[in-house]
Symmetry: C2
Subunit: 598 residues, 2 copies
C-alpha cells in the first residue's frame, strides 16, 4: 500500500445521489438539466474517480516534498503538475459545471460537488488551481459584461488560462473594508489598478499561459468601508486582437509563502502597479460580486476538508486491517498469528468510526446543498428557487466550517491510528493533517463562518432561512416517526427542540447584549451540524433499511451504512446537549477579562 492508493468513493456517491436524494428525478424536472439521467451521473462519477485516482493522487506526495519554487518573479510548480493539469483541462473538468454558451459542460452542481470532493482528496494543491478557475468563471458569468465573458470564459473553461481571487492585504483579511488597493478610471472605460494583495492562491505559476485575477479595489472617491469596494478583472497578460495572450500587464509576484502544508499550491504576494483592469458588476458593489465566487469556494473548501478526511480514513483503515499488534480483549482473534489486527481494539474502531460517520454525513449534506444550488440555478418555479436560495444561504457557512473542522479532526485521528508511523512522512498521513489545516482558515475562517450563520443567517435574518430547514426536518419526523428509523427521528426531534430553545435564547439575549451572537456562534454551528448530520444519517439509514427489507445483493454495503449511522447516533450525537449548555452560559464570562490581562 502506498499513499497514492486513494479510491474515489464512487459507490457511496451513487448511493447518496441516486438512492438517498433521487437526483435524477429532480434533474429531469428542470429544462437545463433534463438530459442528466442516472446513467450519465454514474458515468461522470466513474470517470471523475479515474482522474482523481490515476492522474492527481500519484502526484500528491511529490507535490508536498518538492513544493513550489520561486525565482525572479516566476513560480515553478512541482514536477508532473504541468502535464497533469493539461490532461485534466483537456478532459473538460475545469468547465464541468460551466456555462455551455461559452464552452462549459453545463453539468449540475450536485455532480460537481462529488467531483470536487474527489480531486481535493486526491491532491488538494493541484485541485485548487482548477477550482479557483471554476469559481472565478462563475463570478464572471454572473456579473461581467458579455464582452468580458466572451473574452475570458472559454479560455478559463478549457484551462489554457487560469484565475485567482485577490482579496486579502497585509492589514486587511477578515476586515476587507480596510483594503487600500486603488482603481483609477481611464478614458477608455478601463481602470488602472495599484496595490498589494497577499495570500493569493495560484497568483503566479507555470500551469497556464495566462492568469486572470479578480481583484477587490476602491475607486478614488469610494465611500469608506465595505460599501466602497469594487471588483476588477485584471489579467496577467492583456488579450491581443485575436483574444490570445498579448502584452504583459502591471502584475507581478513578489514572493511565495512558506507554509505548513499545501506546498504544491503557490501562495503569492501579488503586486499590482497601474495594471489595466476591467470592472465586473457595478461600482461599489464588488463585495457582493466577489461573494458569488466566495460562496462557491466556501462549499468547495468544505469539500477539501471532507475529501482529505476520507483519504486519511482510507489509509488508516487499510493500515488497521493489516497491522497486527496486541490481542483482542476477548482473547486472540487470530491465534495463528503473533498478534491480532488493530481492528480488534475498540478504541481503534472508535477513531475510524468517528472519521467515517462524519465524512459520510458530510458527503450527503454536500449533495443536498448541491441539489439546492441546482434548484436555484435551473428550476423554473420561482417559489422553489427562493426556498432553495434560503437553504443555500443557511447551509453554506455550515458546510465550509463543519466539513473542514470534522475533516481536520478526521485527519488527526487517521494519523493517530498509525501511531509513530503517522508522524513520519512515509504513509502520507501527516501531509493530510497539514494540508487540511488551511481549510479551516482560508475562504473566511471558520469563526467567520459561524458568525455569518448565527448572525446574518439566524439572529438577524428576516427571510426565515432557519425555519425553512426546520420545516423540512419536521416533515421528515412526522413521516418517519413510527418507521424503521424511529430512533434517529426521536433524537432529531429532541435536538430540534433544543435548537429552537437555544436559538430563541440568543435572539432574545442579543437584543440586550450585542456580544451574545459572537459568544455563541461556534458552538451554535457545531450544534446545528450535529442536527443536520443526524438528519442525513436518518435519511441514509432509512434507505439502507428499506433496501435490506426489500432484499438486495449488496447487503454488506447497506448493513455497514446502518452500523456507521448507529455509531453516529449513539456516540457522536449526544454532544449537542453540552453545546447547548455551553451556549446558554452566555457572553459575560467571555467578555469579563480585561484586554490587558490576556
Amino acid at each position: 500500500m502506498t499513499v497514492s492508493d486513494y479510491k474515489a468513493p464512487v459507490r457511496d456517491m451513487k448511493f447518496v445521489l441516486n438512492e438517498v436524494f433521487n437526483v435524477e428525478q429532480l434533474l429531469a424536472s428542470m429544462p437545463g438539466t433534463a438530459e442528466v439521467n442516472a446513467e450519465l451521473i454514474n458515468s461522470v462519477l466513474e470517470e471523475a474517480g479515474k482522474v482523481a485516482e490515476g492522474l492527481l493522487a500519484p502526484l500528491n506526495r511529490q507535490g508536498d516534498e518538492i513544493g513550489c519554487q520561486f525565482d525572479g518573479g516566476k513560480v515553478t510548480t512541482p514536477g508532473g503538475f504541468k502535464d497533469a493539469y493539461r490532461t485534466f483541462a483537456e478532459g473538460g473538468w475545469i468547465g464541468l459545471a460551466g456555462d455551455p454558451q461559452y464552452g462549459g459542460q453545463g453539468m449540475p452542481k450536485t455532480l460537481a460537488v462529488c467531483f470536487e470532493e474527489m480531486i481535493m482528496a486526491a491532491n488538494s494543491s493541484l485541485a485548487l488551481y482548477a477550482v479557483l478557475s471554476a469559481g472565478a468563471s462563475l463570478a464572471i458569468s454572473r456579473h461581467a459584461s458579455d464582452d468580458l465573458k466572451q473574452a475570458y470564459l472559454p479560455k478559463l473553461y478549457d484551462g489554457s488560462w487560469s484565475a485567482t481571487m485577490c482579496l486579502t492585504e497585509p492589514h486587511a483579511g477578515t476586515d476587507l473594508g480596510m483594503i487600500k488597493t486603488r482603481a483609477v478610471p481611464q478614458s477608455d472605460g478601463s481602470y488602472k489598478v495599484s496595490g498589494t494583495k497577499i495570500f493569493i492562491t495560484g497568483g503566479e505559476h507555470d500551469l497556464s499561459e495566462n492568469i486572470i485575477h479578480l481583484v477587490l479595489a476602491k475607486l478614488p472617491d469610494a465611500p469608506a468601508g465595505p460599501r466602497g469596494i469594487s471588483l476588477f478583472l485584471v489579467p496577467k497578460f492583456l488579450p491581443d486582437g485575436d483574444g490570445n495572450v498579448g502584452d504583459s500587464n502591471g502584475v507581478s509576484c513578489g514572493s511565495i509563502e512558506h507554509k505548513m502544508g499545501l506546498k504544491g499550491s503557490a501562495t503569492c504576494v501579488m503586486n499590482f502597479d497601474d495594471a489595466t483592469g476591467y470592472l465586473v458588476g457595478e461600482i461599489n458593489k464588488g463585495l457582493a460580486c466577489m461573494f458569488t465566487m466566495m460562496n462557491y469556494e466556501r462549499l468547495t473548501i468544505g469539500l477539501q476538508g471532507l475529501g482529505l478526511g476520507d483519504a486519511s480514513y482510507q489509509t488508516a483503515a487499510a493500515y488497521a486491517r493489516e497491522r497486527i499488534q496486541g490481542r483482542s480483549p476477548a482473547g486472540p482473534a487470530q491465534p495463528d498469528k503473533a498478534a491480532d489486527s488493530l481492528l480488534v481494539h475498540p478504541d481503534v474502531r472508535r477513531m475510524l468510526l468517528n472519521m467515517r460517520a462524519n465524512t459520510e454525513a458530510g458527503r450527503a449534506l454536500a449533495a443536498y446543498v448541491g441539489n439546492q444550488l441546482d434548484i436555484v440555478y435551473f428550476h423554473p418555479d420561482e417559489e422553489r428557487q427562493a426556498r432553495a436560495a434560503k437553504l443555500v444561504a443557511l447551509l453554506t457557512p455550515i458546510t465550509k466550517a463543519a466539513f473542514t473542522d470534522r475533516g481536520f479532526e478526521a485527519c488527526v485521528l487517521g494519523q493517530q491510528v498509525l501511531g509513530g508511523h503517522g508522524y513520519v512522512r512515509e504513509w502520507g498521513q501527516e501531509q493530510h493533517v497539514r494540508d487540511a489545516r488551511i481549510a479551516q482558515i482560508y475562504e473566511g475562517t471558520n469563526g467567520i463562518q459561524a458568525l455569518d450563520l448565527m448572525g446574518r443567517k439566524v439572529v438577524f435574518d428576516r427571510e426565515g432561512m432557519l425555519e425553512e430547514m426546520l420545516d423540512e426536518m419536521r416533515q421528515f419526523i412526522d413521516q418517519e416517526k413510527d418507521g424503521r428509523v424511529a430512533a434517529f427521528v426521536a433524537a432529531l426531534d429532541n435536538a430540534l427542540d433544543c435548537l429552537v430553545r437555544t436559538t430563541d435564547l440568543i435572539r432574545q439575549a442579543n437584543t440586550e447584549n450585542p456580544h451574545e451572537v459572537g459568544a455563541a456562534s461556534v458552538p451554535y454551528l457545531d450544534l446545528m451540524t450535529l442536527i443536520l448530520y443526524c438528519y442525513m444519517w436518518a435519511r441514509m439509514v432509512k434507505v439502507a433499511e428499506d433496501a435490506l427489507a426489500a432484499g438486495t445483493e449488496d447487503s454488506d454495503f447497506y448493513r455497514a451504512k446502518i452500523q456507521v449511522g448507529c455509531y453516529f447516533l449513539d456516540r457522536i450525537m449526544p454532544r449537542y446537549k453540552s453545546l447547548a449548555e455551553e451556549i446558554s452560559a452566555g457572553s459575560d464570562v467571555v467578555m469579563a477579562l480585561d484586554e490587558a490581562l490576556f
Copy 2:
C-alpha cells in the same frame, strides 16, 4: 514581536506552588527536601525561566528550519544546539532532580515539573535530549547495580554523556511482547545485544561525547511475550579504565526519520550488532524497570503539550492585542483607529480563554502530581507514601494524554487566532502545532494511556486508586460547599456523582463484555480530566478569592484567575455530561461493523 518572545510563566508557577499547594510546608516536612524553602523555589523558577527564554527559545525556529542532518551514520544537530546544550548542562539542569550521591542536584520533582514545562515550551527538540538523560538516569538509579550507577550517572547528570530509551521495533510498537532484539549472556557477566530499534529519539547526535542506550531485549531462552523482556544498558562507546570514552561498541544509526515536526530532535533507526550491554534490574523484569523511565517521561511529555499550548497562547494573545480588524459588536472600541483589536470579538476571546483555562488547570495538576511524586520518593511516612503512589499511578496516564490533547488543541486554536498568518512559518504558530502533535503519539499513544487508566487503574484495580482521589475531592467539597467557590463545588459534586455512576456501569458491563473498557476509555479519560481540572480550578479560584478578600496589590492577577476559572466552569465543564452519555452507549455499536467493511 518574534517567535522567541516566549516568557516563562514564573508568576503563575509561584502561585501554584506557593499559594495553591503550599509546597514549602510539605518539603520542610521531609528530610530529603527540608532545605528547599520558598526562597529557593522562587530562585530556581526564575533561573529556569531565564534558561528557557534566553538560551533555548531563540534556537527553536532555526532548529525546525535546519533540522537534523544525517550523513554516513553521523547526525548533525541544527546550528547552535551544541553550544546551548553545553551551557545548559554546565548549569546543572540535566541533573536537577538527580541523586546527589552521584552528582545530581536533588531538587524535588515539583520543581522539575515546572522546569520541564518551560524548556519544552521554549524548544521541545532541544529539551528532549535533556529530559531523556534525566529519565534514563532515574531508571539507572533505581534499578542498576552500584557499579553501573557509579560509571554512568555522574556523566549523565553533567551532560557530557546523554541517553535514550530503545523500545520500538518495526513490527512492535504498542505490543512490546513481540520484540525480536536478542541479548546473549557472556562469560564476563555482560551481554551481546543484537537487533533493530526504530523511532529512537536522540539515538545519534553531536551534543555529547557518548550516548547510553537503555534497550529492551530478550534472552535466548526468554518466555514469550512481555514477561520475557529484559533491560540492558548499551553505551555507544565503552568506558575505558578511567571511566572515559573508550572503544566503540556495536551500535550504529541507520537513518533518521523525516517527520511532521520536532525536526531538531533526531529520530533514529538504531542497529545493535553484538553490542556489549549490561543488565539493568532482573532478567525478564525489564519492562517494569523501563516503566520507571516511561512513567517519568509520560509526565514530561505531558508537559511538552502543556508548554507548547502556553507558548502558542502567548503569541496568539499578543497578536490579538495588537492586530486591529473589524469592530466590536457593541460599536467601535477604538474609534480613533481604523479598526478595533481582535480582542473585541467574543469568538477570539473564546479561543484564547479555552487555551488558557486548560493550560492553567493542567499546570496546577502537574504540580499536584509532582507533589505526590515527591511524597513517594522523600516522605518518611509509609502510609502517605502508599497513598501518593496510588494517586501517581492513577494520574500519570491522565497527565500524559490530557496535557497533550488539550495542548495540541490549544496550538491549533492559537494558530486559528492568527488566521492566514498562523499557517505560514513566520509567526511560529504552525511549528507549535507540528511539534505538539507527536506528544499525543509517543511515550504510549493517548489511546494507550486511556486504556491504562480505565483498565489497570480503574476497572481492574484492587488498590482503590480512584477512590483515593475521590475521597480527597469529596473532602474538599465538604469543606468548601458554603464558601467562596460554592459554584465550582456544586459542579464538581454533580460531576463526581456522574463519574461514579459511569465507572460502576463500565465495571459491571465489562464483567460480561470485555470490549467495554476499550470502548469507553478515551471519553472516560476526557471525563476524568474535566473533573480534575474543575477541582484544580476550584482550588485556584479559592486562593484567588481569599487573596482579593484579604486585600492585595496584585489584584489584577487574582481577578484574571477567577475570570478564567469561571470561563472553565461555564463553558468547558458542561461537556462531561455528553461524555458520560457517549460512554453509556456501550461497546456493541463500536464492535458491530465487520472488519472487512472498514
